[in-house]
């Protein structure tokens, strides 16, 4: 079976594209897939630090397209999973350093020559050149949004742009949702957002302090089997692979659940 290229995008910045890319890639590798993560945010690279691989960068994506090195020389092997790689962005160049055509060729090579099952492209924020590059080689798109007007509005705009580029049926991850706020009527719920955006939901990720801790350490939260957000990303990976899993029940962060955690009941 040929590999799939999935672009992770959002329009708005700061909603969790890079965190989602790192965790989806890691969780897919945990399922035994060969995965290459591409950081398409040239000039503002960050997927390397979220993955904890920043010390290993020698070459980057621009070196590959400019033939300064071979593709496999720029691919950084993950510390934890043999089948997981990162192709880092260049930090001292800009979005025009790669063209959509070059991107298409690159993901093609990763799927065919490098035999990747999944290529995950972390898109930069915005709708300009960097976004166009990121979606160029994609077979499938996942949009990350949060329960805020600005993020959902931008997600809606991205859905329109993806469809115009022929990337049909994008799916959405609703990130950083807080059940307690939804329940008291201070945050849009999953159904509200899905109804408005009219696209399929591929996962919900609860707000989790553990994300900050895992990013501090450079260890994706998908590796943590106790974290709710980790479980959410592992579920998303299994849905990407075609499994039909029910959506996670959102846990309320109230006194009782905190007490249960404290005494080890959940």
């Amino acid at each position: 079976m040929a590999g799939k290229t999935i672009v992770i995008t959002s329009g708005k910045g700061g909603v969790g594209k890079t965190t989602s890319s790192a965790n989806i890639g890691t969780a897919l590798a945990m399922q035994g897939n060969r995965v290459c993560l591409i950081d398409a945010d040239i000039g503002l690279r960050n997927l390397d630090v979220v993955m904890g691989l920043e010390n290993r960068i020698v070459y980057d994506i621009v070196d590959v397209v400019e033939n300064n090195c071979r593709l496999e020389q720029a691919m950084i092997r993950d510390k934890r999973y043999d089948g997981l790689y990162l192709l880092p962005a260049a930090q001292t160049r800009d979005k025009t350093s790669v063209t959509p055509f070059q991107m298409k060729e690159l993901v093609g090579d990763l799927k065919e020559e490098m035999e990747m099952d999944y290529v995950i492209v972390d898109s930069p924020a915005g709708i300009e050149q960097g976004f166009k590059n990121a979606i160029a080689g994609a077979d499938r798109a996942i949009i990350v949004t949060t329960p805020e007007i600005s993020a959902v509005r931008d997600a809606d705009r991205i859905i329109g742009l993806l469809e115009a580029e022929g990337l049909r049926d994008p799916e959405v991850i609703i990130n950083r949702i807080r059940a307690d706020m939804v329940d008291r009527g201070d945050m849009m719920g999953i159904e509200d957002m899905i109804e408005i955006l009219a696209i399929d939901l591929i996962g919900i990720v609860p707000e989790d302090e553990g994300i900050v801790v895992s990013t501090n350490k450079g260890e994706p939260i998908a590796l943590n089997d106790k974290a709710k957000a980790g479980e959410a990303y592992r579920n998303i990976a299994r849905r990407i692979m075609g499994e039909d899993l029910p959506m996670m029940k959102l846990e309320k962060d109230n006194f009782i659940t905190r007490f249960k955690k404290l005494v080890g009941l959940s």
Partner: protein, 77 residues
């Protein structure tokens, strides 16, 4: 219900739906209002439209985006 009693979630949803109508049809608020007024004018030639209760929304469906407008008739329930 007074406006301050309204949950911020409903406010967000309404505001979002409003901006998305404009984003999706790519019209400015002025153009939207003008279209709405002209529609009322045309429809009023034939039917008794209750202009206070008109709802206009742009919905995305499977293969298309559609302008869905609701023009309740006066005196109807």
């Amino acid at each position: 219900m007074k406006s301050e009693d309204k949950k911020s979630k409903s406010v967000a949803k309404e505001r979002l739906q409003f901006v998305l109508v404009q984003d999706r049809v790519k019209l400015t608020p002025e153009e939207m209002d003008a279209m709405r007024d002209e529609l009322i004018e045309v429809l009023s030639k034939y039917i008794d439209v209750d202009s206070q209760k008109i709802e206009m929304d742009v919905k995305r469906e499977d293969d298309m985006t559609a302008l869905v407008a609701n023009f309740p008739l006066k005196g109807s329930k």
